[in-house]
């Protein structure tokens, strides 16, 4: 492997920009491994197809992450019992789960699956460590993962009535004798048709009535069940959906309702728009949104077919480096391209825990958005000057491991640099720009690093031994801080 590594060359060949673009948008960072895969594939679409068939890719490192957080395997009753007896808090469970999520993003080989899991988790959003949902949060995540590249209809069915969702949006206390509209409303507003569909308050009430019966014994033992006695029986009408809802057990009617909503043209539009905002641009053209919307409907909500329509539209390839990474995406990307890999999570200094606080210090923490609508997908939200400042600083912290993270695997410097010496500082900057950003260094970047090191661009570095920690950190931090380093 070491002789075949890309980085052995003085000027590693960068990927064709169309491939680099697919990697930038559909992975959490084009690491050397991703670049190698993308180069070996017959086309970027064949790489994408292979990734979308995620269950055929073996991914032992991602699978191992769950083992670092054994309490995530607690049954809801056991988790609640630990909280009740003050051995752990809901926050502790949430923190474990957030670390687990971040670590998987860094180490997974099934990158497209990770990215799509993140996308749907942000649409069907439930925070981590929230009081009424935390014992079921990990189980909910497994549901999202299972359907992340399947059909939206199936995902919606599984997610909306999941006990975590019932707790989070109060469906657990929604009964025929006391309607709680929270889930019934958000189902319409956020998860499916959206406000422009024009539903009214009667539709919301009907939506909530149909969802009665899904019980969770919140703050007792968190046991989940379906209780026909709590289910509202009687005709339901939401937008164009009509159901007699005459059975005591309303679950068949709920499934019919969720199928109706998943297939609704307004849902198709909403999902298409959100996908395009994540993967194409903050302001996608109506042409690409409508192409994606059509594919979604024609395929009966099939996610892979929907994504194919998006990436085949010319707007997709025309949008290179137009999105700014969110703080979470930025930390994960930096870790991946720098070759920093968490190996366990037994203490506060573990890299797997530090990444949470690193993105937090830039203004975003995994699953810490307080509202049901998920983190904004728009880049403009994450492009404030304060965020940019903090990211510049964080890139040096990461490049130099200045937080002193432990349980961290980092390749030896000599395995990341060319085999042929001497090299000029300018060549080293260019080499790292190719490796970390997938493009040659600009003159301004090379000059900027040389200035910071107070040497000319032509300054010769005799051997890898002369690449001190300081020089190495200044080079890599500066490369990540180039404007292109903030973009995906």
């Amino acid at each position: 492997m070491s002789s075949a590594r890309m980085s052995a060359s003085v000027a590693p060949a960068v990927l064709p920009s169309s491939r680099q673009h697919v990697g930038n948008r559909f992975t959490f960072g084009v690491s050397e491994q991703v670049a190698t895969e993308l180069r070996a594939a017959s086309s970027w679409s064949s790489w994408l197809e292979k990734q979308m068939a995620w269950s055929r890719i073996s991914d032992p490192r991602a699978t191992a992450v769950a083992g670092w957080y054994p309490r995530l395997a607690d049954s809801p009753a056991a988790a609640w019992n630990r909280v009740k007896t003050q051995q752990r808090s809901a926050w502790d469970y949430g923190f474990d789960f957030s670390c687990y999520t971040m670590a998987r993003k860094i180490v997974a080989r099934r990158q497209v699956h990770e990215v799509m899991t993140d996308f749907w988790s942000n649409l069907l959003y439930i925070p981590a460590g929230e009081d009424r949902s935390f014992p079921w949060r990990f189980s909910y995540d497994q549901v999202i993962r299972k359907h992340a590249l399947g059909s939206y209809r199936a995902m919606l069915r599984a997610a909306v009535v999941h006990p975590a969702m019932s707790g989070w949006l109060n469906n657990s206390s929604n009964t025929k004798d006391g309607i709680n509209e929270n889930l019934g409303r958000e189902l319409l507003e956020l998860y499916t048709v959206g406000r422009p569909a024009g539903y009214d308050e009667n539709d919301v009430k009907s939506s909530a009535r149909l969802l009665t019966g899904f019980r969770v014994r919140v703050f007792e033992d968190f046991a989940a069940s379906y209780s026909p006695d709590d289910h509202y029986v009687g005709p339901i009408s939401v937008l164009g959906f009509r159901h007699s809802n005459s059975a005591k057990d309303g679950r068949a009617a709920v499934n019919a309702y969720l199928d109706y909503l998943a297939r609704h043209p307004s849902t198709a539009y909403r999902i298409a728009k959100r996908l395009c905002v994540r993967f194409v641009s903050d302001t996608p053209s109506s042409s690409i949104v409508s192409a994606v919307q059509k594919a979604y409907r024609r395929s009966d909500t099939d996610i892979r077919a929907t994504l194919r329509a998006m990436v085949r539209h010319p707007d997709f390839q025309a949008s290179k480096r137009k999105k700014v990474r969110t703080p979470i995406e930025d930390v994960v990307n930096a870790a991946r391209v720098l070759g920093m890999r968490p190996t366990d999570s037994t203490r506060g200094s573990s890299f797997a825990q530090h990444v949470i606080w690193m993105s937090n210090s830039m203004g975003q923490r995994q699953f810490e958005w307080p509202r049901p609508d998920g983190f904004p997908e728009t880049s403009s939200t994450w492009t404030s000057p304060a965020r940019v400042l903090r990211t510049w600083d964080m890139h040096y912290n990461l490049a130099g491991n200045w937080w002193g993270s432990t349980e961290l695997s980092r390749p030896a410097v000599k395995n990341l640099l060319p085999t042929r010496w001497p090299l000029t500082i300018g060549q080293i900057v260019d080499h790292q720009s190719r490796m970390l950003l997938g493009r040659p260094a600009t003159t301004a970047l090379r000059q900027s690093v040389a200035n910071a090191l107070d040497v000319p661009v032509t300054f010769q570095v005799a051997s890898v031994a002369a690449v001190t920690d300081w020089r190495w950190t200044v080079v890599r931090g500066a490369v990540l801080n180039a404007p292109e380093g903030m973009l995906r």
Partner: protein, 417 residues
């Protein structure tokens, strides 16, 4: 110290328009201006305008312990182990008295700068932390715009708000109250809004010039944000140096208090006169389901010591600063089996500082007897949005409050002068 480059303090708005026309004031909100050929940052805006500081008591503060309705037998019978005896109350009138842990605020009360408001809350009960915080801070029921009320307030005060108009201090995560179209800033401190290598002036400058060259050449959204980040770092460094001067007037904030460090930073921010209009600060830890008696004593003591130090620290600037406390809900009247109190409804509010007619209590008190409660909780007779409207109308008359709080029925308590 902060100064205006052209010495024209009252020139802010028109200069901003000028900059907009020149295409130099970016969407990110940090002003830039041309001085000769050099693109430099400047501080603009009305540096000594009025400021509102909103202290959110996270977790649901027990208003019945903060401002005790001592004339209500129902209060004492519902709180056999946690009721505060009449004799221990501070500044009591016939109906109410302050918890004794408010002692550090005694002189502000005597000077008429602190008022106690009661039976305040949302129009309808919501006993979920997340939902209630979201609803209170969004403050626009029925709208799906998901814009917070402080964002609407600063948008109503300037045609193109500055990034320093609305600031959250104490967290880098934007709270709902600040979320929206107008640019806002969320930060723990101003020292962390610095360029890399802040402690090495020579190296910092080399890195700065390299970033300046790359980002100004790159253009677009990220290019503009990078250029503005360089300007922000300079403004933040000035604020940080004012904060770094330390508390003024002999003010002492409690040690190890996150509220204290947030208010200390807030005082420095206000003293540095960058033109901030609204600051949101969190005070956590009010969710007292168990052992209310000593826990609420600690919470109130921290709040009182921090606010007393804050007003001392502000010095002459205190004359333009109004503070109001908010909490997502009050708590149940009846204490629970763990000598604590569960989530409730109506709550107490403190208003301090500029414009407050203090030294007294204001309430349309609903009473606590049978039939007066709402599901076992104190009723709400004053919408919290009406309380905020009263402050905004007094201190920020340029704001159209009907746009900040759409649809609220305004029913002033008369606590603002």
């Amino acid at each position: 110290m902060i100064h205006d480059d052209c010495g024209c303090d009252d020139y802010g708005v028109s200069r901003r328009s000028l900059l907009k026309a020149a295409g130099l004031a970016s969407m990110a909100g940090v002003a830039t201006s041309m001085v000769g050929d050099v693109l430099t940052s400047t501080v603009y805006g009305a540096g000594d305008a009025n400021v509102l500081v909103v202290v959110s008591l996270r977790g649901g503060a027990d208003g019945l312990s903060m401002i005790v309705p001592h004339a209500e037998p129902a209060y004492y019978s519902a709180r056999p182990t946690t009721g505060i005896e009449r004799s221990r109350l501070q500044d009591a009138d016939d109906t109410f008295g302050l918890h004794p842990a408010f002692a550090p605020l005694g002189s502000l009360w005597q000077q008429g700068r602190l008022a106690g408001l009661h039976a305040v809350g949302m129009a309808t009960p919501n006993r979920s932390h997340f939902d209630a915080m979201e609803l209170i801070e969004d403050a626009d029921p029925g709208s799906s715009a998901r814009v917070g009320w402080i964002n609407r307030m600063i948008a109503g005060l300037a045609a193109s708000p500055d990034v320093f108009d609305g600031i959250q201090i104490g967290s880098t995560i934007t709270p709902t109250a600040l979320a929206g179209k107008a640019p806002t800033l969320s930060t723990v401190e101003f020292g962390d809004l610095a360029l890399p290598f802040r402690s090495d002036a020579v190296l910092k400058e080399r890195v700065r010039s390299g970033l300046a060259r790359q980002y100004s050449a790159y253009g677009g959204q990220i290019g503009a944000a990078g250029v503005n980040a360089l300007a922000l770092a300079e403004r933040a460094a000035m604020i940080d140096s004012t904060v770094g001067d330390g508390p003024q007037g002999g003010a002492v904030y409690p040690k190890y208090s996150s509220l204290g460090s947030a208010l200390r930073t807030t005082a420095g921010l206000i003293r540095s006169k960058v033109g901030v209009k609204a600051v949101a600060v969190d005070a956590g830890g009010w969710d007292h389901h168990v052992d209310l008696r000593w826990r609420v004593d600690d919470s109130i003591k921290d709040l009182a010591q921090c606010l007393a130090a804050f007003f001392l620290d502000l010095g002459a600037d205190a004359g333009r600063v109004t503070v109001v406390t908010m909490s997502e809900f009050g708590r149940r009247l009846q204490e629970n089996g763990s000598a604590g109190v569960d989530h409730g409804y109506g709550n107490a509010v403190l208003a301090l500082g500029a414009g407050v007619k203090g030294g007294q209590y204001y309430s349309r008190w609903p009473g606590l007897g049978i039939g007066k409660q709402v599901d076992g909780d104190l009723a709400v007779t004053t919408d919290y949005r009406s309380v905020l409207t009263e402050i905004l109308r007094s201190r920020f008359p340029a704001v159209d409050t009907s746009k900040v709080f759409p649809g609220v029925s305004y029913d002033p308590l008369g606590f603002m002068g």
